[in-house]
Point group: D3
Chain length 303, copies 6
């Protein structure tokens, strides 16, 4: 060696080895569609936001087809408060009157979505923001209480009227496919419209599950603020199957905000999605850890 320090070169070689370690994972996931529900701290912390944006770009660069679905987060409540409205939640669903729905749409489609699109694009990616209205992506209907006729409906336990909260009736994936084929990464704000043209606020977890189902995605990943699903002693459960999940729900171990995610996982598995994951989005590059290292993070729910 001449004119360059051995130590520098060794550091570079070590980096190259990391790339080589990722090789089998890159080969495994090339050409596969992955739906990412983006939410929690990963949506509010600046460094984590940028980390997610880079992860998504890298996934695309090595041949994967990521689709990001985001929720509304604290921005909506803040905007409601600025407008003199008081946010109310029932069973984790935001009570959404007409005025609130307008704010939800403006914030989700015109602010949060655009911020994430801009972040991915300024980091070197090529994202396109979509709402459930664009290209007829999400057809919705008003959520209502489960009935005898539809006992296994969406878990919106609403004896009360949630207003413009909707369920997904159908996903028309053509606009996603058109964008993916030309190299764009779709970023979806989960609104929906019904046949009469009424706009609904859709739970982002359920929207992500429905989109993953329509695309028969390889994976559906929920970025959350916890390590995954924990047992009653708060120990992480790395892998669960349907039967185990049903038991944990029955036992009340899975509850609260984790419920719609877990239900979305089960529905997605029923619809042909390969695997579903609930991972800790507060870990930097959690997506890459999930895909390109052997360790993995969080809880995996399989069929």
């Amino acid at each position: 060696m001449t004119g360059r320090k051995r130590t520098d070169v060794q550091a570079s070689i070590d980096k190259a080895k990391v790339l080589i370690e990722a090789l089998p994972y890159i080969k495994t996931f090339a050409g596969k569609t992955v739906v990412i529900k983006y939410g929690g701290a990963a949506m509010t912390d600046g460094a984590l936001k940028r980390s997610v944006a880079l992860d998504v770009i890298l996934m695309r660069c090595v041949g994967m087809h990521p689709v990001v679905v985001h929720g509304g987060g604290p921005e909506i409540s803040r905007a409601m408060e600025r407008a003199g409205l008081r946010p109310t939640f029932i069973s984790g669903f935001r009570v959404t009157d007409r005025e609130t729905m307008k704010i939800v749409e403006m914030v989700m489609v015109g602010q949060i979505n655009q911020e994430l699109v801009a972040l991915i694009n300024s980091s070197g990616g090529s994202a396109v923001g979509l709402s459930g209205k664009d290209g007829g992506l999400i057809r919705a209907k008003k959520s209502g209480p489960a009935t005898a006729a539809e006992p296994s409906a969406d878990p919106v336990v609403s004896e009360v009227d949630l207003g413009f909260v909707g369920e997904v009736v159908a996903v028309d994936e053509r606009v996603l496919l058109a964008l993916e084929r030309d190299g764009f990464t779709p970023v979806v704000a989960p609104t929906g419209v019904d046949e009469a043209g009424v706009t609904y606020n859709i739970n982002a977890d359920l929207a992500a599950g429905a989109i993953a189902s329509a695309l028969r995605a390889e994976k559906l990943i929920f970025l959350t603020d916890t390590d995954g699903i924990l047992d009653k002693d708060d120990a992480l459960l790395p892998t669960l199957n349907r039967q185990k999940v049903e038991q944990l729900i029955a036992d009340g171990v899975i509850s609260g905000g984790m419920l719609p995610k877990v239900r979305a996982c089960l529905t997605a598995l029923d619809n042909g999605v390969g695997k579903t994951h609930i991972v800790n989005g507060t870990i930097p590059h959690a997506l890459l850890l999930e895909f390109f290292t052997s360790e993995g993070v969080g809880t995996e729910i399989v069929g």
Copy 2:
């Protein structure tokens, strides 16, 4: 004839003849791209809105490629007022501080754009909303006063600082082409981003002109609230060329809000757009009149 009234059939035959009259126009414009600047009364009157939506769908159905660019209209000022801000305009450009920019984006991308998309889709079309951020569609820079080095710059005569008002630096038309090829109609809200990721409010007339230029559109059409360009005696001027337009500007006959439209027309013609039109959007189906009948409406500016 048996069992059906002659008069009914004659009415149907008369309708068929209208279709046949449209035939040469349909053949002429098949496969052609048309950029429509949507604004004014056509954006606020319910019947006119629906009329524009249907016109756009019909254009697509007979083989044309419409691209709609809309402005912000009175909604932005209303939203500003709700937020306790006072709208201010200089030379027709909205002074846009950081707080205003956020409102502009939310209203244009999250409300106006989504309304138009939903209207087209519920009327049978397949629209997809885009902002200038989506797919890197509009690269912008802060508008500044014309300098000696750039004397013929964008006509934002701003001795004062307009804040987050931007000019179009470049249009990346790939996302438009990807959507068009799969049968979607792009509806564009004119925001833009600069290299540093700063968001700008772009004049919709200028954005429409830049997009028409990038697509080398067959036509660029401005829907306004007047009949077109009027001479000093308020008579409509049906056709103008560059020389005539420059004279009318010099004479002060073209002025005010008509100026950016006219400038956008001239720039578009320079960039290979076929023809440009300023038409009265308060006439129902003004777009169809322009394309599918021999009469035409408004003023045509040619190269």
Copy 3:
């Protein structure tokens, strides 16, 4: 409004509304194949001929795939008489000796077909004439009396020998598809050849039915000189199904020249054609009325 009369504009708006009324029909039929049996007065009256040509061109322009099949009409008899031959018909089929066959082919392929092709092309369309020989389009065999083995054969009740009158054995639709894909409208003269290379005169109604079947057309339309199928009181029957049709045949209400059309309809429905229609070709633009207005004309026979 300035410099243009309100009344003119209103007339234009009314025309635009007609186009908009056609929109749902255009969307419904885009990309669909329609086989039109062209005959009767529509083949002899100059204004009606031109009306059919324009209808066919418009159908193509809005995305449909029309295929026209024509008969021989009075031209053949005239040509026979000029050559000193006496036209003879049995059950509506022309007795066709060798000399007559030569005249049939020359008149159908070299005169009637070419006239219609030229009319469509000079009106702005792009038609290509075909016979059943071109590209092996129609494979035929000599028509014979129904036998015990083939009781439901073609309804040529010929105890006598009709000569070179043939039935369709098979349709090779590849030449139609090749032309359609490149934007040409096929116009078919119904001759056919058997394995030995013998040429046959094919009933145009049956040829149209066989071609519609091979293409699994959306619609098969017969242009006739009557309003459709009339009941025994001469009232038009707007919609019939198979069962009703069989009854009307049994009752002798459907008879004569209407029989091969109705049989062709039933066979086409059996072979996957969507709908079949018998419409009055003496009404100008009868085809457009059928497709682009809600009124419809004539009788529809459904499966």
Copy 4:
């Protein structure tokens, strides 16, 4: 060898060697377009007709793109006589009144063309008959005497009015390309239409030359009843260039019916056709001799 006679095998080996001899020629002409003017004895003699049909099929099978243009031959005169008309020729062009034009079209398009199509198809090929009207293939105008303004016009030396005899104004080759791409062999009857929709009789030699020019064919071949171009001592001239041809015309050695062929050759060479040939169609398989053996036949005119 056991159980099969050596002599039989040797005969087979000799045949295989003939195929191998053809190999370099097959490779040379694969993918090349060849326009064949079919006329003379090859159109009347049954064995020669079949020989031409097989040659054309083989050409297609080994990857060439043959296009056949035929003339009217003695059939037209016979049909005229049957109709009580007297055929008249001036400078080799048939004087064509309205009645004659109708007969020309019926015989060429409805009889001769269809016979050749049927022969090729029953021999295993896939031909499609076209006239100059189909797909707007041949745009024509009335032939007139050469004028001062157009001194080098078409060589129809007509002080007298030839009636409906036309010259080629333009060839629209799209219908030929659509058929070729799908494996069909076009067989063209040389009629043409002018802008007003008037039908003309086009000299088949000149039509073949114009089609070869439009397709930038590799070769243009005239099948005639003579060995090629003979010198004043009746010796065959195997190869000629433009200069030599002009000299032979000036000397009167090339004259009569050979003139339009030779003129068509020169025009085709000017328009980018590779080589032109005048070969003896009375030799069985003259086309194959020209393409697949080293000997060649007839006269070759090169640029």
Copy 5:
């Protein structure tokens, strides 16, 4: 005729007739894949080598997709002897120790394969040499004695260890298809690798059968030094079916080196190959005789 001798022309016509005789065969085999096991005298005699090369090129030129698989022949033994090794065979399989395997690979891939590729290419073709390693074409495993669990395994009756002699486990035909689609003719040397990367010597007959199976070839042809399969009286058996073949094996009539060929034929037929042939490669152009003349040569084994 002038200036050319009648006899010459007659000879040319006779040659053209041979081409025409081949026409139905060319049509039958166009687009079909044929796998040729090349071996025996055809690999050692200079004239026969060139004859095979030309036959393969002609097959490609008329639209077939030939794939050539060759064996090692006497060259390997010669190379072993030069290296001081003694060739040993058991049941027709070469005992292959590590040193021998290296020689087998060098001679088959680096010498015999390259000679054949160069011969085809210098004769006007476009061949590409492949081994079983290239593109993972042949996955192999060590051959072992038939066991109770796998009684009908590969017929290597080896109580003794044959060393690096392998059986085909799987064929990955993608590299063949990639080359064929672009007009190249694959020439395959039958090596194989197992999962651990160990190289094996594969019997060329069995490799050819496996490749024909993977490609669902129309035909599998073995070029041998005998006339085909002979009965016990040495008379050629032109056609055999599975039942007859099994009988002949049981009777000991089919034995020795013919056994792997016959077994490969039966396996190929089981896997969807159309027909299999054992032909005498010492007859010049034996492949063409098989394809392009009615006589055929050798024995055909059908399903």
Copy 6:
């Protein structure tokens, strides 16, 4: 964090960061063709071999198109010695008589090439070995001394006859493109053939340069056993341009085995190759260091 050690996760995050660091390089080189001359220690040391194989696979996985060209190395001399031949070199070129040429081809095509192909494939890649004969890849001619007419010829300073040593006359890149398009990585052994079918031994450096030129590669990289080009004080020269290179040759600083590499670089740059590199192949993952880290290794020669 629960149930997993923080330190493990941190190590994974650090790995993810390495992937993210590579992102801009992956984006830069996606879709680009890179020709790698593989030689020296990287061909003999087991760990380095595997490192090169993995680097090539990773390059392909992230969208690059690597083409590997290898030399013969010490294996050829060893094989010659085993055959009783004495290796002789003049100016770095192996004197190659007929017997030697046969050994060169067997070792390069049948041994070294196959080993590298098998190594890449068993490591997860999809390589296909090619020689200069396959698909007519390398057309060669006998190398001769520079003449007055060709003063700047290939730098084989041969007053003596080198035998079957050839220069590249032309590269037919079609087989490379066919393989690349279907995802295969070509590995090329540098033999060549002349018009007469004579095989030549081609210097691998020059072959790599010619192939990079034909493909207009983005980069041409030589893997050597030194750090790159060193100045007269043995300090590495990281970047050189043509002028500087010529000076170093004139000064004798560049000499010996480095000369053909440097000459190949200059020729490649002349032919449109983007950049050329001489890097130290004894550094593990030297290729990845070159592409995916900012440090780079070796000497870069630019146009």
